[in-house]
Symmetry: C2
Amino acid sequence: MSLDDASQKPHDRLAAVLAGDMGRVNDLIRTRMASEHAPRIPEVTAHLVEAGGKRLRPMLTLAAARMCGYEGDNHVKLAATVEFIHTATLLHDDVVDESGQRRGRPTANLLWDNKSSVLVGDYLFARSFQLMVETDSLRVMDILANASAVIAEGEVLQMTAAQDLATTEEIYLQVIRGKTAALFAAACEVGGVVARAEEAQVQALRDYGDALGISFQIVDDLLDYGGDSSATGKNVGDDFRERKLTMPVIKAVAAADAEQRAFWRRVIEKGDQNDGDLDHALALISHHGTMEATRQQALVWADRAKSALATLPESDIRGMLTDLADYVVARVR
Amino acid sequence: MSLDDASQKPHDRLAAVLAGDMGRVNDLIRTRMASEHAPRIPEVTAHLVEAGGKRLRPMLTLAAARMCGYEGDNHVKLAATVEFIHTATLLHDDVVDESGQRRGRPTANLLWDNKSSVLVGDYLFARSFQLMVETDSLRVMDILANASAVIAEGEVLQMTAAQDLATTEEIYLQVIRGKTAALFAAACEVGGVVARAEEAQVQALRDYGDALGISFQIVDDLLDYGGDSSATGKNVGDDFRERKLTMPVIKAVAAADAEQRAFWRRVIEKGDQNDGDLDHALALISHHGTMEATRQQALVWADRAKSALATLPESDIRGMLTDLADYVVARVR
């Protein structure tokens, strides 16, 4: 299959174009997750890092740097940094969510224990930090430090907003901006910074990552009420069981009559869930058409992502990033 | 009481000399632990930060910078950075240890939940990272990034070494170097770096912090078998119940006869602990004189800390840091 075969998924086409860089990122990840003194660390991280995630975030860094004509080595370090931050947050998320499955495999906290997930996550954060220091760029560190703070804040906000029917779409947007879009945005931005791109281009890359991340997370949350676990590695209804307020539910609650509100209060606020409740929730979501309304929101953000790219010079990679924004939403159908 | 009253505890004398700087550190900590979007964050951190820890680590940074003649502002940021890293590790430690008490108060994971401790800890790490970026010093970031990695590695090593009677004093030293001495050493070192002290002095500060931290942790572990909870905020026997191999036990296991080994295997390896087992452990520790042998080791490290200081010019603060090394061990009697 040729590289420019448009029928290929856009992240597969990106992966093909960036294969050389990506191989170096994977080597670096493998080297840096080792620990001389604590063999538990590579056990846990290998389980997660080798689990075959799409490596979307490091790919964004590589793509951004290449698109801006970068020829050095630091983009590889930054891509690995971004993936370490992502992996660390996954480990901590699984503890927080008490999850049993991630990407279709048992989670680390289930295979080892919560302690290992917490401490190995901390180790990966520290390793990411060491890697970015090696790039000698204070600006890159500033971007990634800020992203780390926004991610952590988003996670705390998500935790306190869970079980709260008063959660608005505005709060939801703040949560997903933190937990997902902040790292997408930083991943793109540092690619531009390391390539010393013009300020307007750096900002455009950041805006692209932000909008792509928001669109991506809206669709992820949508799939939680309508995807199948073979495609997403998640089980339908995970968010429902964890009583998270995501867009399809927030919209359904806003449109609810008194009886429906009582239902949401029982299952989300009180956490009193019985057999058939997920089906009833799905029926309410379908009744109010909130899946489609949510998908429309994801499309709006995908369009914003594509508009941001217009600032950047035309190139093969730019075309693939544009297609990626479409593909992120197309996962729903 | 005058500042040079030698009868005062050395950290109180340091606190008095550094009171102005320390006030600014406390203000900065309060400002930076706020979160506009997630009020849970300041609730949790205030509980811990206001709990009246001795602020030993930030004081080391301030003392080191002042001792090297520093006149700027960055030492205040670095001191707050160091305290944030420390507080973050405490939050995660309490999750890992399933602790119920810290500094004589209920732990955050008990008052809120494990989720809050994990995520707020992550937030503090990110905040510490933002603060240190503001100092514009790549070298400082390198030191603190390396310290963070060594801390996390030490924590993982401690976890995997727990319950393992084969743990040697060498492994124990590695663990406490990671979990305690790494941050003491970095706290002192960055104080010298920010003051642009000569390389030999920076190294001396680092060596002082490393040796002081090791001495401090050995004594802490000793107090776990012989202190009282009003002095330490810990309960006697916490490490025993958590099946941690610390120096008094490692030495007692090394000296054990067959019957005693069977006891240690049951209580530490199998975790089969009954009423009276802690008393029996204390009796074995006393029988083999391992409390005193452990105290001797702490004294050796305190001496190393004091020798390291000899490289630095004589000053009031140097005198207090010397006394501090003595005081750390004197806590035992």
